[in-house]
Amino acid sequence: MNFELIYNNFFIILSGLDETLKLVVISLSLGFIIAIPFALARASSFKILSQSVYYYVFVIRGTPLLVQIYLIYYGLGTILFVRESFLWIVLKDPFFCGVLALVINTVAYTAEIFRGGIQSVTKGQIESCKSLGMSRFIMYFKIILPCAFRQALPGYGNEMILMVKSTSLISLITIMEMTGLARNIMYKNYAPVEAFLAAGSIYLFLNFLIVQFIKFLEWKYNPHLRIKT
């Protein structure tokens, strides 16, 4: 166990942190926004909407992320129609392919988490909204969604951690984020354990930060659960 190697590797791998963070932030933000209409569709009473989102989630959750990434990057790249269309602007770049795969994946999971949150809003609250004459739009915006988000915080925190871990798979489509750099070090030094320990500790730290952030959000948005002195 060469500790000096781990120390040196640390800084090399740290230079990939910006790629990892770019992937995480962009995919999570897009995923969050897109998941809201999906969750509403899933929770709605229109069978068609609810069923289509159900099947979408079913397929995405039933296949490994790695297969989805390869399918989008290599699979779509062999279709001439795709290569000659305007889609190619996005799909040519491995970074955007990675973001696309991550967003598709996270929307499926997040939509389910939000659906759970939406459906947990008690009937009483909805009835009081209606009795106050609120339009559906205001009811969703002011009451249901905020409640749903608060309920979904622990589950969504988990999803954020999963996203950070999923970015390591993007290294398999030529993006040099932390795992890719760690593998590169392994090729040069034939010291895989040192390289991956260094990378692993950075990921661990990132996830620690996320856990603390979620704990803070839970504390902030649950004032009614704080102990009253």
């Binding site: 062999t78 001439l80 871990k165 895989p192 320990l197």
Partner: protein
């Protein structure tokens, strides 16, 4: 583009190799899940036992495994595992080569990941079971061991089933990452086939379909198991 002729069985197509690799995926997932549950029993015990040191170890284990990308865990165990086992064996005086084949390495890597998730499931299930039952069993004179085996464990298992179903799906999908060990499961076989035939679309779709079939059947089986274990519940 989509080459269906490559999927036929026999010597000119990859159909039979894909089928064999699906069986390999199922086998390694079963082994990993089994190993995971086995290890999880001990780590759950460590967490709920109240022994401070055990609890620290168990928490460290689950935090690290769930906080590091699965790919890194598998790499670490694959590259570090054989070296450490041989190091340990050298201490005991055995100087030959211990070959850990790809199946074992795959099982251990995915199994340890599976164990971390199963631990959390068991811990949650344990907290649902009414403590009063343990006290009642104790007052009836049942030993701690028998209380666990006859009273607590069946109920913990029942409440853990949904969570375990989730862990099984995660385990099944994580086996796609062990291609670095050289084990030929669905992902590796489809990559090999796609490399040879220069047709990634065909084989990525086949791989996705195979995984989807496996997860669909698994969820059906788990649903049946849940229904069976909930058969005596009083419906409100």
């Amino acid at each position: 583009m989509l080459r269906f002729d490559l999927l036929i069985f026999g010597d000119t197509g990859w159909g039979d190799e894909l089928l064999i690799s699906s069986i390999m995926t199922i086998l390694v997932s079963l082994s990993a899940m089994g190993l995971g549950i086995f290890v999880a029993i001990f780590t759950t015990w460590a967490k709920i036992s109240g022994n401070f040191i055990l609890k620290i170890f168990a928490n460290f284990y689950t935090t690290v495994i769930r906080g590091i990308p699965e790919l890194l865990v598998i790499y670490l165990i694959f590259f570090g595992g054989s070296a450490s086992i041989m190091y340990v064996a050298k201490i005991f005086g055995y100087n030959g080569y211990i070959e850990l084949n790809a199946f074992t390495m795959g099982t251990i890597s995915v199994g340890l990941i599976s164990a971390a998730y199963s631990t959390e499931v068991f811990r949650g299930a344990y907290s649902i079971v009414n403590k009063g039952q343990a006290e009642a069993a104790h007052s009836l004179g049942l030993s701690k061991f028998h209380t666990f085996i006859k009273v607590l464990a069946p109920q913990i298992l029942k409440h853990a089933l949904p969570g375990l179903g989730n862990v099984w799906q995660i385990t099944l999908k994580d086996t796609a990452l062990i291609s670095v060990t050289g084990l030929v499961e669905i992902m590796r076989q489809s990559r090999i086939a796609s490399n040879v035939s220069h047709s990634p679309l065909t084989f990525c779709l086949s791989a996705a379909l195979l995984y989807l079939i496996l997860t669909t059947f698994s969820s059906k089986i788990f649903n049946k198991l849940e229904d069976y274990s909930n058969r005596n519940d009083i419906v409100a």
